[in-house]
Each structure stands twice: as structure tokens, then as C-alpha cells.
């Protein structure tokens, strides 16, 4: 048990960070090079002002027509993404680990709040899975990879909740928790999770086109 613990908290953790960082840098630079070579027009039409205008609208709840047309999805999407970042970053147990490993400290969330945030993430994933299974237009587009990604994202939160409450087998679950977290981080550059980095560029480009050339809103 201890050996496995050392493995997941040592080499595997580093491997996960390396894959995340290396993979992200690789994908970014290769896409940037390809864009320079083949889509030079994209750079010509990019406008910081209109890119930010579009991004700001799409990061504000209910600021776009489609968000107003899908209120449940809007609430869940925003709650999910916010909790997804806040819960693991400011969780007391994680901050302690970071402090022990790297020596710096930052504010933490009360455990009860972190608990709720984790539940929100898991429930959101269930909501997304429900959409994938029952909404025809989403079902039509869904592949097994989409479901696998949802599982990969929900797993660290579900297992984290389990571990915190020390339910049966929580020691084994701790290992699963750490591993699933590492897996989620490691696959970001290689899956559709990479949208977290591409969002500002895609949104920014269409925002620039709409704002600067087409003189129209894109929300």
C-alpha cells in the first residue's frame, strides 16, 4: 500500500504534471505554427478589443441569448466550471500538501464548502451525462470518449468526497483519488478538455470577426 502511495504521489504526480505542461506547450506551439503557416488571415483580423468584448459576454451568466434560452444548462455550466477550479485549488488538504512540498501557502476553503463544491461538480457531471443520454441533439453527437471524459472529470471529486468522509475502504480510495486527479490533469492536452486553453482564442477570433469586420454582436 505504502509503495503504491509513494508511486502515485511521487513519480506519477510528476509524470502527470509533465504530460499536462509538455503536452499543452506542444499542442499550443504546433497549432500556433500551423496557424502562422496556413491561417495567417486569422492574425490579420484579430482585434484585442473585440476579442475581449466577446469573451466577456460569454463568461457572464445569461449575457447571451443562448444562455437565456437554456437556463438550466447555463446555471449548471457556470457552477460546474467555477467549482471545478475552486474546490481542488483551495481545498485545505491540498493546500497543506502544497505547503509541505513547495513551502508556500494560500487561503483555504472551509471543508464544508469544499464538500458542497465537490458535490456540485459530481452532480453537474451527472446532469451532462443525462443530457448526453436523453437529449436527442446531444445524444446524436455523443461518443464513448465524451462519456469517458465526464467520468474522468467526476472521478477525482467523487473519490475525494469519499476519502474526506472516510467511508469504507477510504485508504484504497485515497490512491484512486490521487490517481484519478493525475489522470484528469494528464489528459487535458490530448482530449477535448484542452478547450480550457483554446476557448479564449476561438471565441476571441469570432468576436473579432463579428465586432471588427461584420460590425455585429456575437451573443
Amino acid at each position: 500500500m505504502h509503495d503504491i502511495y509513494s508511486l502515485v504521489t511521487g513519480p506519477l504526480a510528476w509524470l502527470s504534471f509533465a504530460l499536462f505542461l509538455g503536452g499543452s506547450i506542444f499542442r499550443f506551439t504546433s497549432l500556433y505554427r500551423l496557424a502562422q503557416k496556413k491561417d495567417s488571415a486569422v492574425f490579420e483580423y484579430m482585434s484585442l478589443r473585440y476579442a475581449l468584448r466577446s469573451i466577456a459576454h460569454w463568461l457572464t451568466p445569461f449575457a447571451t441569448r443562448n444562455m437565456r434560452l437554456n437556463p438550466a444548462m447555463t446555471v449548471v455550466t457556470f457552477a460546474f466550471h467555477i467549482c471545478l477550479f475552486i474546490a481542488p485549488l483551495f481545498l485545505f488538504a491540498h493546500v497543506i500538501l502544497i505547503q509541505e512540498s513547495f513551502g508556500f501557502h494560500f487561503p483555504t476553503l472551509p471543508n464544508a464548502v469544499a464538500d458542497i463544491l465537490s458535490i456540485i461538480v459530481v452532480l453537474s457531471c451527472l446532469f451532462f451525462a443525462g443530457r448526453r443520454m436523453f437529449l436527442p441533439e446531444v445524444k446524436y453527437l455523443t461518443t464513448w470518449v465524451d462519456i469517458a471524459i465526464l467520468v474522468a472529470v467526476a472521478a477525482p471529486f467523487f473519490t475525494g468526497f469519499w476519502v474526506y468522509h472516510q467511508w469504507a475502504g477510504f485508504q484504497t480510495m485515497t490512491l484512486v483519488h490521487i490517481f484519478s486527479g493525475e489522470l484528469m490533469i494528464a489528459i487535458i492536452p490530448f482530449t477535448k478538455l484542452f478547450h480550457m486553453f483554446l476557448f479564449p482564442f476561438i471565441r476571441g477570433y469570432i468576436g473579432s470577426e463579428f465586432g471588427n469586420v461584420r460590425m455585429a454582436k456575437d451573443w
Binding site: 496556413k38 490579420e44 437554456n70 437529449l135 441533439e137 477535448k192 469570432i206 470577426e209
Partner: protein, 444 residues
């Protein structure tokens, strides 16, 4: 109406597509696809296809999806699934049957209206993805017959309607002669060097709607415009090659058009009320030629009308008194933000203006755009059925009292005419120019 035939999923009654598909082999498909993907696309297509998280939120953006009872196949991402996803996943190793379906989807089930780009949370430009599919189909020789015929006409005559050089001049002279009954010294000035305005129209104007040239001449005359039209090719600003995926021809057409105006040393081009032609000169054609913006100032008729009313260059007898509603054409609203100006012109010319909803950038396409109407009778029934959302929008405007639909775009006229007829909406269709001509004071 009698010449239109319904199509089903398995039976595609289009000679252009069928004849093209028969000549395909898996090797040819793979070679052509990879040529297009590697030589003509890059990070943009890759990022769009790779980033789509399959959330289905674009669906609400598409009038096909809404009109076809929310059938997932008609959602924007659903159409990408039937085309470029599969092609990229299989690296071009798809069957002729796949290409047949992909051609139907790309040419006849998407108006390239870009509304979905405003509904996708990432802002993925699915119209661009569909254009890539059309480009592949064009290079494979799998294009619907009717639109390919207009593309051939462009190749041969530099206009969309097989109008011969002498017929063009003859039509202008005919309209000038007619107009002289009203204004004795009216001219349609040909090849005048150094005019302020070079006026260009689309092929169907001299072919079917010559009275629009008459009206434009009257408006120009009343506004005291220094204007001209060319006597040789370059007068047609339309561009079906842009929609078939024949980008080489698109470039040639735009070059002929821009150069005709530049050769006559005109200060600017004013275009008639057409949407797709505007997309061609302001967005796709100029870019393909390497111009970030058009090489000569170019304005749409709405901007011109706005100018003559705001500068009080034209007087009206009285405002148009029947209640009107306004259809916002994709290519000049999502393409150029002309919805504000259009409303100002409508308010300057009409007594009662009733908005249809959703409007402005969120307006539904007429169903004809993107070359879909140009794919002709084999796809007409499906096109009109796919415009149920538009019909409901028109019914709602009518219920509020609107009797006349103003559509400042030729394709929109074609599409809306079919919708009005099919659904029995009983509304009259007009161009802004029709209204202005009807209410303006005719010059002495």
C-alpha cells in the same frame, strides 16, 4: 411548384450529385480530401473540429433544426458529424456514398448563415466547416446540377445568368427608354470615367427583375448622383462559385468586378440589394484575392439609401402607409451590421414598422441563402419545409398587423416568396428600393 420533387434520405434526385458520385473511387476521394485538408486548411479547421465538445448548444442557432422538429441530423454540429468529423477521423478514407450524403448536407441543408456561430459557446464557425466540405465536393465534381449551371455561367460570361454582352447593354437601354417616359432626360450612364458611384447588380436583375435597374436609375437621378455602370463584364457582383466551392472562379469574378470599377476610376461601388454578393465582395472574394478589405470602397444599397435620406438628397411625397416588417438578411446583418441603418431607412420611408422576432443578428435565414435556393427544384420542397421557423416568424409579424415584408436581398426574396406561397401567409414582398421608388418625388 409542379417541377419540385421531394427527396428522401435514400433517394437523391439530383443529376449533378449522382453523376459526380458515379465517377468517384475511394482512392480519388482520399487523394482530393487530403489535398484540400493539407493545402487549403490549417489550424482553424483542426481547432474547430477538435474543440467541439458535442454539447449540442448550437442546435438552437439553426432554423433547419428548429423547423425540422428538432431532428438532430439538422443541428449544426450534427451536420459537421455527417461531414468533416468523419472525414478527419478517417483521414479521407470515406465511401462515395458518404460523399453523396455530405454533399446534400453541405449544399442543401446549411445556408452558411453563421447564426450558429452566435449560439456555440466557443464561437466555432460551422459555416466555415461546411464551406470546406463544399470545397471538397467541388474538387470531387459532386455539385448539385442547378447551382453548378450558374457556376458554369459565371465561368463563361462572368455573370450568373448567361446574359450575353449585347443583351446586358440592350437591357439597360430598354430600361432607360422606359424610364424616359417618366423623366425625359434620364440616363443610365455607361462607362463614364471618374463617377462618384459605380453601380453593380446581380445577374438575375437584367434577366428577371429589370425594373429594379429602372428604379435604381430613378433613385440615382432623384438623388443627383454622379454614377455609371460598365458596358462590359464586371457589372455582375454575384457569385455562386463562392458557394459551390470553386474558389478559383470566385477570385476571377471578384477581380473582374473590382477592376471594372477601378478601370472607370469610380470613387466607390454601390451594390444593389443583394446579400450573398456582399459576402463575396466584403468577406470571401476579397480575402481570396489577398485583400483584407475590398480594394475600392464598396457599400450596400441599404448604406446608399441611408446616405441619401440622412443627407436629404431625396424628397418623398408621403410615407408608405401599409404596415411593414423587415427581414434581416444574414450576409448584410451578421455580415456587416446593417440592421440599424435598415431600420432607419424603413422608419424614414414607412409609416408603421412592426418588428418580427427574433430580429437583427438573431433573425432566421430565409432558407434560400448560401446557394441553397440555387440548388434548384430537386431540393425545393425540403428547403421550404426547413423554413417552418421562418414561416411562423412571418405569421407572428402578420398577426401584429404587418402586411408587407421588406427584404433587402435577392435570395431572401426568392426564399420568402416560396415560404409565403407554401404556407399561405398572404403577405407582400418588397425591396427597400420598391418602397423608395413608390413614395419619392419623381425628378422633373
Amino acid at each position: 411548384m409542379s417541377d419540385s420533387k421531394p427527396i428522401t434520405e435514400n433517394e437523391i434526385d439530383d443529376k449533378g450529385i449522382m453523376a459526380g458520385v458515379e465517377k468517384l473511387s475511394p482512392e480519388k476521394i482520399e487523394r482530393v480530401i487530403n489535398e484540400v485538408i493539407t493545402a487549403e486548411t490549417g489550424a482553424k479547421l483542426k481547432v474547430y473540429v477538435d474543440t467541439c465538445v458535442h454539447c449540442g448548444l448550437c442546435s438552437e442557432g439553426c432554423h433547419y433544426f428548429i423547423s425540422r422538429d428538432r431532428d438532430p441530423k439538422f443541428s449544426p454540429a450534427g451536420k459537421v458529424k455527417q461531414t468533416l468529423w468523419e472525414i478527419m477521423r478517417k483521414r479521407g478514407r470515406v465511401s462515395p456514398e458518404f460523399i453523396k450524403n455530405a454533399a446534400v448536407v453541405a449544399y442543401t441543408q446549411c445556408n452558411l448563415c453563421k447564426r450558429c456561430a452566435m449560439y456555440c459557446p466557443f464561437g466555432i464557425d460551422i459555416a466555415y466547416v461546411m464551406s470546406v466540405m463544399r470545397r471538397i465536393c467541388h474538387k470531387l465534381g459532386v455539385v448539385p446540377l442547378y447551382i453548378q449551371d450558374t457556376a458554369h455561367s459565371h465561368s463563361v460570361t462572368a455573370n450568373q445568368m448567361w446574359v450575353k454582352d449585347d443583351e446586358w447593354i440592350d437591357t439597360l437601354m430598354w430600361q432607360e427608354e422606359e424610364a424616359r417616359d417618366e423623366v425625359s432626360n434620364l440616363r443610365i450612364p455607361l462607362d463614364v470615367e471618374g463617377s462618384d458611384t459605380f453601380y453593380s447588380v446581380i445577374g438575375p436583375e437584367p434577366k428577371y427583375r429589370a425594373q429594379l435597374i429602372y428604379q435604381a436609375a430613378m433613385i440615382m437621378e432623384a438623388a443627383g448622383e454622379s454614377w455609371t455602370m460598365p458596358s462590359s463584364p464586371g457589372w455582375d457582383n454575384s457569385d455562386m462559385c463562392m458557394y459551390t466551392g470553386d474558389y478559383e472562379m470566385m477570385e476571377r469574378l471578384k477581380k473582374v468586378h473590382f477592376e471594372a470599377a477601378i478601370r472607370l476610376k469610380a470613387k466607390r461601388i454601390v451594390m444593389g440589394e443583394c446579400g450573398h454578393a456582399f459576402r463575396s465582395v466584403y468577406d470571401m472574394g476579397n480575402r481570396a484575392l489577398g485583400w483584407k478589405m475590398p480594394p475600392i470602397p464598396i457599400i450596400h444599397a441599404i448604406e446608399y439609401y441611408h446616405e441619401i435620406f440622412s443627407k436629404e438628397k431625396i424628397k418623398i411625397k408621403k410615407k408608405f402607409d401599409r404596415p411593414v416588417t423587415l427581414h434581416d438578411p444574414c450576409n448584410i446583418v451578421r455580415g456587416r451590421g446593417l440592421h440599424h441603418m435598415a431600420r432607419e431607412v424603413v422608419n424614414a420611408t414607412c409609416k408603421t414598422f412592426i418588428e418580427m422576432t427574433p430580429n437583427c443578428e438573431h433573425n432566421y435565414c430565409c432558407g434560400a441563402g448560401g446557394g441553397v435556393i440555387n440548388c434548384g427544384p430537386p431540393f425545393k420542397n425540403e428547403r421550404v419545409e426547413s423554413s417552418k421557423a421562418k414561416a411562423e416568424q412571418l405569421f407572428a409579424a402578420k398577426a401584429k398587423g404587418a402586411e408587407v415584408v421588406i427584404a433587402p436581398c435577392h435570395n431572401c426574396h426568392g426564399g420568402l416568396e416560396d415560404i409565403i406561397h407554401h404556407y399561405g401567409i398572404d403577405m407582400e414582398l418588397k425591396f427597400l428600393g420598391d418602397i423608395i421608388y413608390e413614395i419619392m418625388e419623381i425628378p422633373e
